[in-house]
């Protein structure tokens, strides 16, 4: 695992004292955020903490009411949309596949920022789409309609579309949310491969803390529109952080597979009376959970 990103300002993408919101509702207030080049940055935090809002601002989808987002030393809002799209790829939370579209045609749309009226399908386009299909292991799915694919396959096809854009910066908004655990691992393995082999800088909004710790080299924990802590997972994720960010009592141990922090939530049924757990404390004997949902239960789409 690489060292966490420094806060120096020569990184390609950063937000400077941005204030973000919708209508009159402020979601993020005066936030500084730097995306470390060449790393996987995971943004974590409870629902409605401003994770996706921040990602939208970084991708130029949302204009900050105060402060600025800087891409390659330029104010991102001064850069034309198409030029931004040549440098920065984005996969939103809920992209829509037109009914009946073939996977290859969807991936081909990732080439849009590189195309012109009289240059609709160059050899570069062809090569990039082929490479994107290969990188996401979706070459076999290319001639199938997207709406007939499984959730995991579909998400890989969407990522392939973003890859075909051939940008060094990739922003993914909850790419694993509606996937079962095996497909979540699939997608995150792919993200890690893109980072290690392709040297891409990835920013990913994740719900699952343990997966974030395992796959990201830099974790940013947000709550109520501000950054609580940021850094390498082993440095910043402990029971105190989990408590502060999610309001959740948890035990943090070393992941037996990756040695990264593993957050084990305690939950009310297992809480010891009158004594709050500290890092490294052992949970009481295992009781049978009574159908309670985990701390990051899926199914919340209203998150911004």
């Amino acid at each position: 695992m690489r060292s966490p990103g420094s806060n120096v300002d020569d990184n390609r993408l950063r937000a400077e004292r941005v204030t973000l919101g919708y209508d009159r509702l402020t979601v993020v207030d005066q936030l500084d955020f730097t995306v470390p080049d060449g790393e996987i940055t995971a943004i974590i935090g409870p629902n409605a903490c401003g994770k996706s809002t921040l990602l939208k601002a970084l991708a130029r989808l949302l204009r900050s009411s105060d402060g600025q987002v800087v891409l390659d030393g330029e104010l991102i809002h001064r850069v034309p949309t198409k030029e931004v799209a040549r440098r920065l790829g984005l996969l939103p939370q809920t992209p829509i596949a037109p009914p009946g579209i073939l996977a290859v045609d969807l991936v081909a749309r990732g080439r849009t920022p590189h195309q012109r009226l009289f240059q609709q399908w160059s050899e570069d386009d062809e090569r990039a789409v082929r490479a994107a299909l290969e990188a996401t292991d979706t070459t076999d799915l290319a001639d199938r309609p997207v709406d007939q694919l499984s959730g995991g396959q579909r998400q890989r096809v969407w990522i392939a579309m973003a890859l075909a854009q051939e940008t060094d910066l990739l922003l993914l908004d909850e790419p694993t949310t509606f996937l079962d655990i095996a497909h979540q691992i699939d997608v995150l393995d792919l993200v890690l491969r893109l980072n290690c082999e392709g040297g891409r800088t990835v920013v990913v909004v994740l719900h699952d803390l343990n997966l974030a710790c395992r796959y990201a080299s830099h974790v940013v924990a947000m709550r109520d529109g501000r950054i609580v802590t940021a850094g390498a997972p082993t440095d910043v994720i402990d029971a105190a952080t989990v408590g502060e960010v999610f309001g959740l009592d948890a035990v943090v141990i070393a992941d037996p597979v990756s040695s990264t922090p593993l957050v084990v939530p305690i939950g009310s049924h297992h809480r010891r009376t009158g004594d709050s757990p500290s890092p490294g404390s052992t949970p009481r004997a295992i009781q049978r959970p009574r159908g309670r949902r985990g701390p990051d239960a899926p199914g919340d789409r209203s998150d911004r």
């Binding site: 989808l61 984005l90 037109p98 009946g100 399908w121 160059s122």
Partner: protein, 371 residues
């Protein structure tokens, strides 16, 4: 020039290879890629075929439509007249009565077809067509106002129709706005506005002079009866200016289909693209209304038919234009001949086609929860 990729080509090679020294199998993209050093296009052979067949059908039905009537003119004479060798009677009947009528029908159908394709794709719902969500009603109100209040000429009626359409579109959009515009809200608000506009039109009619009322009433059903070269000019200008814009915007429309955020991520200027598309779509529908009245359901049925024929997930603007033209020409032929010698307005015929489709669509969407 080379054809590098053909979905229908029999290559006998699996698509998935990856690695190896043999040249990779062609990507299974839709359509063919035509490419030289400096430019490249993707052409869908199926769309080309569909459009050609539709165009031939439009010409065939059009010629037939010119030929038949209370004063039948043999097809040979029709063709001769069109080529500049009229007989005595064919010159008046073809040149003054039936040819402009047919040309207006083709142009209006194409304009409605394109407008429908644009809006149905933008709203992502076949019910988002301008004749369902009140835009054509708004154009009709603008036009009726010009007829009844100002007693305007064809150009004045056109201006009124465009203004009426734009104001209505703006009203529907603002009323449907709630942190962005949801398709179902837009459709419901549009239908409501359509009824409101209809009531205003009725009020204007009751207040108007009897001659104006008759002119307005026939026109309001959507009629090609008595169309002259004035109306041909209106639709010709509309199609010449707006048609190319619509066709050029198709690429961005197809990106918007992936969702606004995704489209923006792909470099589409979402706000500007939507504005241009809405203005183009409203103007196309409005000029169609100015020329022939709010011919019911042509915009509504054209794009879905075109999509099915071309079998494409895209907006199919050009095929929809051809479908719209064909539907209108056939409907007008039927309107003229079904109860001959009485002529029905073409709008009644298109309503006979469109209404059952609307009912079917409503029950289906109600069942699947799409609306």
């Amino acid at each position: 020039m080379t054809v590098v990729s053909d979905r229908t080509a029999v290559e006998g090679r699996p698509v998935a290879t990856g690695g190896g020294t043999s040249p990779p199998a062609p990507l299974p993209l839709r359509g063919r890629v035509v490419r030289t050093r400096s430019w490249s296009f993707r052409v869908d052979p199926r769309a080309v075929t569909v459009c050609t067949v539709l165009a031939v059908s439009v010409v065939a039905v059009g010629l037939w439509s010119i030929s038949v009537g209370d004063f039948p003119i043999p097809l040979v004479d029709v063709v001769a007249t069109l080529l500049g060798n009229p007989t005595e009677e064919s010159e008046f009947i073809v040149g003054t009565l039936r040819l402009p009528r047919m040309l207006v029908g083709i142009g209006v159908g194409a304009a409605f077809g394109m407008s429908g394709a644009i809006f149905q794709s933008l709203v992502r719902n076949p019910l988002g067509s301008p004749d369902i969500i009140g835009f054509t009603a708004g154009s009709a109100l603008g036009a009726v106002t010009m007829i009844v209040v100002v007693d305007a000429t064809a150009v004045g009626v056109s201006v009124g129709a465009v203004l009426g359409g734009l104001v209505t579109a703006l009203a529907v959009y603002l009323l449907a706005w709630k942190r962005g515009v949801q398709a179902y809200r837009l459709v419901l608000v549009g239908i409501g506005i359509g009824f409101f506009v209809g009531a205003v039109i009725d009020y204007l009619i009751t207040r108007a002079e009897i001659n104006d009322v008759q002119r307005a009433a026939v026109w309001l059903t959507g009629s090609l009866n008595g169309r002259s070269w004035d109306e041909v000019r209106i639709v010709a200008v509309a199609l010449a200016v707006l048609g190319p814009i619509a066709v050029l915007m198709q690429r961005q429309l197809d990106r918007l289909d992936l969702g606004d955020d995704t489209a923006a991520g792909l470099g589409v200027n979402v706000g500007r693209a939507k504005l241009v598309l809405v203005l183009t779509g409203v103007a196309l529908a409005a000029l169609g209304v100015a020329a022939a009245g709010p011919v019911a359901f042509v915009a509504f049925v054209s794009a879905p038919i075109a999509r099915r024929l071309v079998n494409s997930p895209g907006a199919c603007i050009v095929p929809a234009a051809f479908v719209g033209a064909l539907v209108t020409v056939i409907a007008d032929l039927a309107a003229r001949r079904v109860l001959a010698p009485t002529e029905l307005p073409v709008g009644i015929m298109t309503a006979l086609i469109g209404a059952p489709y609307l009912l079917w669509l409503l029950t289906r969407q109600a069942r699947t929860g799409a609306l």
